[in-house]
Symmetry: C2
Subunit: 330 residues, 2 copies
DNA sequence: CTCATCCATGAGAGCGCTCTCACGCACACC
DNA sequence: GGTGTGCGTGAGAGCGCTCTCATGGATGAG
C-alpha cells in the first residue's frame, strides 16, 4: 500500500498538517521536526499524490499544448514536432507537466473546452491556428490563461501570442533575390487562411514595392502544392529568374520541378525558402532560406504562459526576429 | 463559481450519487431521472472535475510518454516528433490524456520515477531507450504498466515492447544491393549501444553471409557521423560499390560525401538507407530506403499499454514488418 | 505576577468525486 | 398476507491533500 501523509505523520510522530508544511517548505516548522519528517519521508519512500493535491489547491501544475492539424500534413512537417519537444524541454525543472491534446474537428473543440474547464490544466498553449479558429475566444472567455503560437487572424484583445517576423523574413528573402540581380521574381505563397501565409506574402510584396507583373501562385505549405505552384509559375512566367517559396517544403517541391524543367538553380533561377528545417540542408542544391526560431518561439510561449498563470497581466505579443541562411540555391 | 455534482443534483432534484450514475453511464437509472439530470448538466454547463475523480477512483485516465534524448539530436530527427504525434492521435476519442515527460539525466530519472509513482499517470510509454537504461526495470518493479519502443538491450521478462523488424529490414536492404549486382558492399552502422544499431548491423551481416572483407564503419545516426563514416569507408575500401546506412540521416550525409568524391549514385555506388523519413524523398538522388512504420508502431504501443492498464496480462513483444522503398539511389 | 504576543503544532473542515450499503417500493410467488 | 427478489435511489464514508483556526507553551513587557 502506498504511503500517505498520515503514514508519514505517524512514522515521524507528528500531525498530518506538519508533514504538509515540511513538504511545502513552510518556514513555521522547527528544525528538528523538519529533519524527523524528512527522514520518515525517505524511509517510507513517500510521494505526494498529485490528484489530491490539485483537488485541494485548485491548481494542477500542468499545461496543455493543443494541436489542431489534420493528421497527414503534420507528420511530414517537423514544425509541430519541434514545438512540442522544445516546449517540453523548457518545462524541465519547473515542476509543470505538459499535456498534449489533439483537437481536430468541431466535436473535439467542444470536448477540449470541457476538458480545459474541468480544471485539468492551468493554462493552454495553442499551436498553429487557422483563421476561423473559435478556440482562442472560448478559452479567453472562460478565463483560461492562453498563449497562441502565430499571430491570430483577428486580433483578440487580451490574447498574447508569439510569432516570428514573417513579414520581415519574407522581405529579407525577396531583397536577397533582388540584390543577386534577379528582376523577374515570383513567389509561391502559403495558404491565405493562415497568417503565416498572409504575412509572408505581404513581406514579399513590400520588398518588391509594386513591380509589375506580380508573379504569385498559391500552395498549402505541402511539397506537392509547391510542385504544382512552381509548374504554374513556369507556365505563366517562363522568363522568371527568382522564386521565394513561403516554406521550405514547397521550396523543395519547386526545386524538383525546376530541375525537371531544365532550369539550373541558382544559375537560371534563384530559390529562397522559409523555415530552415533540416530538409533545407539536403536539397539539391542546398536551400537558401529564412531561419525561423522555433525553439526560441516555444520557449517564449511557455514562459509567457507560466507568468500569466502566476498571476501576471497578459503580456503583449512577441515577434521574434528571423534571419537569412545563405546556402547554394540563391 | 463552477458547478459541482451537488449543484447539478440540486438543480435536477436528485442526489449526488444519482448524478454520478448518469455521468458514468450506469444502467440502474430510470429514463426520466436520466433526462432530468442531463438537462441540469446542460443548463449549468457542468464539467466533472478530473482531479476529484481520479482521487476517488485511483485512476487518472492519462499516460506518460517519456523521452530520453539529449536535446539537440532529437530536433533534427523526425522520429520522436512522429512518435509523439502518432501517439496523441491514437488517443483521440479514448478519453485518455497524453503527458509528455522529459527525463534526460539521472536526477530526472529519479524525479520521473517519483512522478509516475505519485499516481499521476496510469502507465508509461518509453520512447527510444539506450542500452544502460535503468528506467524499465524501475517501472516494472514499481508495478507500473509500461511499454517500450524498440527492443530493450537486456530482455526483461514481463516488459512488453514494440519494435520494427530491424534485422529483416537490414537484410532487405543488403539483398537489394546484392541483387543489383553489387559485390563490394559496405555499411555505415548505427551506434552499438542502441538495439536499432545492433540489429541493423546483424541483419546486414546475415544477408552478406560472411563475405570478406567486412566493410563496416560506425556512426551515431547523425548526418555528420554519416559523412565521417562514408569518408572513412572510401578511404579504407576505395573499390566499394554499395553502401547500406543504418538510417536515412547518415545516408544523406554519405550521399553528399560520395558526390564530393566524384562517385555517381547509383551508377558507381548504390546507397540504401533505413527509416524512410521525409528527407529521403528530397536527397539527390532520392534515397532508396527501408520503411519503418512509425505511426503503426506508436499506435501499437499505445494499444498494448491501454490493454495492460485495463488489466490484461502483459503482451508479448510485437515486431512490425519493414519494407523496401525503391527510389533512385539503388 | 499578570497579561499580551508569538510561534510551533494539532484538529478538523473541506476540495469534488465514487462507491458501498441500506432502504423502500413494486412485483411475483407460495 | 408473508416472504423473496429486483431495482431505482439516497445517505454517507472515504480518496489524500491543504488550510484555517484553535491551542498551549515560551517569551517579553508592564
Amino acid at each position: 500500500m502506498k504511503p500517505t501523509l498520515d503514514t508519514v505523520a505517524a512514522e515521524a510522530g507528528v500531525s498530518r498538517a506538519t508533514v504538509s508544511r515540511v513538504i511545502n517548505g513552510s518556514p513555521r516548522v522547527s528544525a528538528e521536526v523538519k529533519t524527523a519528517v524528512e527522514a520518515a519521508i525517505a524511509t517510507l519512500g513517500y510521494v505526494p499524490n498529485r490528484a489530491a493535491r490539485s483537488l485541494a489547491m485548485r491548481r494542477t501544475d500542468s499545461i496543455a499544448l493543443v494541436m489542431r492539424e489534420p493528421d497527414a500534413t503534420v507528420l511530414n512537417d517537423p514544425y509541430l514536432g519541434n514545438i512540442i519537444i522544445a516546449t517540453s524541454q523548457t518545462l524541465v525543472g519547473t515542476g509543470v507537466q505538459l499535456v498534449l491534446v489533439n483537437a481536430q474537428n468541431t466535436a473535439e473543440h467542444a470536448q477540449l473546452a470541457d476538458y480545459v474547464r474541468s480544471g485539468h490544466v492551468d493554462g493552454v498553449l495553442l499551436a498553429s491556428m487557422h483563421n476561423d479558429d473559435p478556440l482562442p475566444r472560448i478559452l479567453l472567455d472562460a478565463g483560461i490563461p492562453t498563449v497562441v503560437g502565430g499571430r491570430p487572424a483577428s486580433p483578440l484583445p487580451g490574447l498574447s501570442y508569439v510569432d516570428c517576423d514573417n513579414v520581415g523574413g519574407a522581405q529579407l528573402a525577396a531583397e536577397h533575390l533582388l540584390s543577386a540581380g534577379r528582376r523577374r521574381i515570383a513567389t509561391i505563397a502559403g495558404p491565405q487562411d493562415m497568417t503565416a501565409g498572409i504575412d509572408r506574402l505581404a513581406g514579399f510584396r513590400q520588398a518588391l514595392a509594386g513591380r509589375k507583373p506580380e508573379r504569385v501562385a498559391y500552395g498549402d505549405f505541402s511539397r506537392e502544392s509547391g510542385q504544382r505552384a512552381m509548374a504554374e509559375l513556369l507556365d505563366r512566367y517562363p522568363d522568371l529568374d527568382g522564386v521565394f517559396a513561403a516554406n521550405d517544403m514547397m521550396a523543395a517541391g519547386a526545386l524538383r520541378v525546376l530541375r525537371d524543367a531544365g532550369r539550373a538553380v541558382p544559375h537560371d533561377v534563384s530559390v529562397v525558402g522559409f523555415d530552415d528545417i533540416e530538409l533545407a540542408r539536403h536539397t539539391e542544391p542546398p536551400l537558401t532560406t529564412v531561419h525561423q526560431p522555433i525553439v526560441h518561439q516555444a520557449r517564449t510561449m511557455t514562459e509567457l504562459l507560466l507568468t500569466q498563470i502566476g498571476g501576471d497581466p497578459v503580456a503583449d505579443p512577441v515577434i521574434l526576429p528571423t534571419e537569412l541562411v545563405e546556402r547554394e540555391s540563391a
